[in-house]
Symmetry: C2
Subunit: 131 residues, 2 copies
């Protein structure tokens, strides 16, 4: 009979849709973070230590939280420490499931040493639908 | 020959994925908006007039903008007035394209009289990928 090669399933992975992450340090002030968010037109900033390793995430939602509580302060006072991450070769469907499960809209993309390689957001994923 | 019915293409529309919109008025204070955002665990609030018609949108990003500028104030001072919207029967792909084109992460869903029926976000759309 005719040889039919198995059709390779087109697996789209996180690194093909992720964007550059703008990072901040734990001691950055909330006001400075607000400026970085506006200047770069982003919502999510991974927080890294001096070795560039992920220690948290701070978002415009956390700035709203600081305003709601009536106290500014530093990134380390408002950031989320238990960060849900993605790997560069993870399928986009897996990233989408993590966001859905945790009710979040972005995942820092990290290497095995927890160094930040990029960021994948629900905006990046919903663009796949727009194709 | 065998009759083969044309396969109906499964068109997913905005109303099947939209969620309830929490709305505010133009005279609501920025601090109050921050509290509403945190209490409801959302990022986007359509702004409506006394007749319930859409006049703007305010997001946690706009709260960050107020912090960056160092002045709180009212919703009408920080909201975006030219709002990109979706219709309930619009295909989700169309909503995804609008978000991509305008670099935004949510669209208020409105009726013909610009009354707010709901909200569709990039988080809602990326959930379709998670299936
Ligand atoms: C739970 S979400 C709720 C609002 C909305 N769903 C969103 O994603 O912005 C807001 C919180 O999620 C946190 N967050 C965002 N991305 C995260 C991630 N990848 N891992 C853990 N927490 C994250 C933020 O620091 C913020 O405190």
């Amino acid at each position: 009979g005719v040889f039919k090669p198995m059709r390779q399933k087109d697996v789209k992975v996180v690194k093909s849709v992720m964007t550059r992450a703008i990072t901040v340090k734990p001691d950055t002030s909330v006001e400075e973070v607000a400026k970085i968010i506006i200047q770069n037109n982003v919502n999510h900033l991974p927080v890294v230590d001096d070795e560039g390793r992920l220690v948290g995430i701070v978002t415009s939602w956390d700035i709203a939280k600081a305003v709601a509580m009536g106290k500014m302060g530093k990134v380390k006072d408002v950031m989320t420490r238990k960060v849900i991450t993605a790997l560069p070769d993870e399928p986009v469907e897996s990233a989408a499931r993590k966001m859905e499960k945790h009710n979040i809209s972005a995942l820092p993309v990290v290497d095995a040493k927890m160094r930040v390689l990029g960021l994948v957001t629900s905006e990046d994923l919903s663009k796949l639908l727009a194709r």
